[in-house]
Symmetry: none
């Protein structure tokens, strides 16, 4: 199995468990990320957009259920699967967890084989068809299928040319695209438009996603900074 295409995020405050689970899952080929509290978990989730999150219910600072609620509010994490780790027979947290938007739970103590079976079963069922048409740059998600851009999980609609231009820049973050290049790739070889046209489009995109992401490189062109 191509487990290496899946990103897993493990969130637990106990270093031992983090390491133990991380080790077991890495051995199966998964890309594993970890976080040791709810807050960090949320920010890592937003950054990596994992396919599946394994989250401890009981944690200091921010408990798992609150974290999941926040994650579920983020549009770009809509498809992410969430598995709770709960202490055995904490039935209440199971129910609350499902209500918060979890997809499964696993009771502690955790046996790696069980965890792996479960993770695989979830991924198998849920991600049969994965999009692969999504580009993520920092807190910006560009979904080519839905033709929408998410900034910090907030949906933004861009007109065709603006979307195309942003998509181009996002395809190679930090690379400077010359005006020449942009013309060819966005407008096409044959179309002739004035010089200021690009500027205006860049401006409109900046209006929508903020001024910090697209940098001007004077005399050369533009780049999307990461």
């Amino acid at each position: 199995m191509d487990n290496d295409k899946y990103k897993l995020l493990i969130v637990d405050d106990e270093e031992d468990i983090l390491e133990f689970l991380g080790y077991s899952l890495k051995r199966e080929g998964f890309q594993v990320f970890t976080a040791s509290n709810g807050k960090d978990g949320i920010s890592k989730a937003k950054k990596e957009i994992p396919h599946l999150i394994i989250m401890d219910v009981m944690m200091p600072e921010m408990d798992g259920i609150s974290a999941v609620e926040e994650i579920r509010n983020n549009k770009s994490l809509d498809e992410t699967l969430i598995v709770f780790l709960t202490a055995r027979s904490e039935d209440y947290s199971q129910i609350a967890g499902f209500e918060a938007g979890a997809d499964d739970y696993i009771a502690k103590p955790i046996k790696p084989k069980v965890l792996i079976s479960r993770v695989k079963a979830l991924l198998r069922r849920s991600l049969k068809k994965d999009s692969g048409k999504i580009v993520v740059i920092g807190n910006l998600v560009i979904d080519q299928e839905k033709f929408e851009v998410l900034l910090d999980g907030k949906k933004i609609i861009l007109p065709k040319k603006e979307f195309k231009l942003l998509k181009l820049l996002a395809a190679s973050p930090n690379k400077v695209f010359t005006r020449e290049e942009i013309f060819v790739k966005v407008w096409g070889d044959d179309v002739i438009v004035g010089d200021r046209t690009i500027d205006v489009h860049v401006r409109k995109i900046r209006e929508k996603i903020g001024d910090n992401l697209i940098k001007t490189v004077k005399g050369i062109g533009y780049k999307l900074e990461n």
Copy 2:
């Protein structure tokens, strides 16, 4: 929730459990069927094509795992979810169960609240991905078999082309279908129709299901938003 849409089959050799679970789930509105052994379970499953099967692992005559293997070999039960009931800490059967094609397991003793949460979570999760015979988008249900659309439970009749178009959009909610794509998939490769034909059809559908569901993505196409 419209639990009455869902058929559940419970397979267990203990009469008590059968009754207890059946009662709990019926109270939630599900259509409940029961069987007291693996063989009977298989034949009832084939007959009713339930959405979800709850199956005891340990049973006389035919154990749950063999039964699940046989069920999974049946094409029409491909989409059916399967939940195992296992005695606590029987880790081995968990793994074997997943390998046989189960989607989840629940440890005995069973608490109804937990069971119900779990069942609902499974149905919710898998229905999202289900591109099978029935598609649900918000308050819209599209039944491809009966060739009808329900809006807030009220039946709406759509002519062939309109239905085909709506079905296409509903097959991948939120995905933007280009006009190109729509032409090919609804009208066919060879048919040539005018540009406004799609618009008119979209308009007619909107007249019937409301203006909010089908969004126009200018310059690209249409999508059914969720």
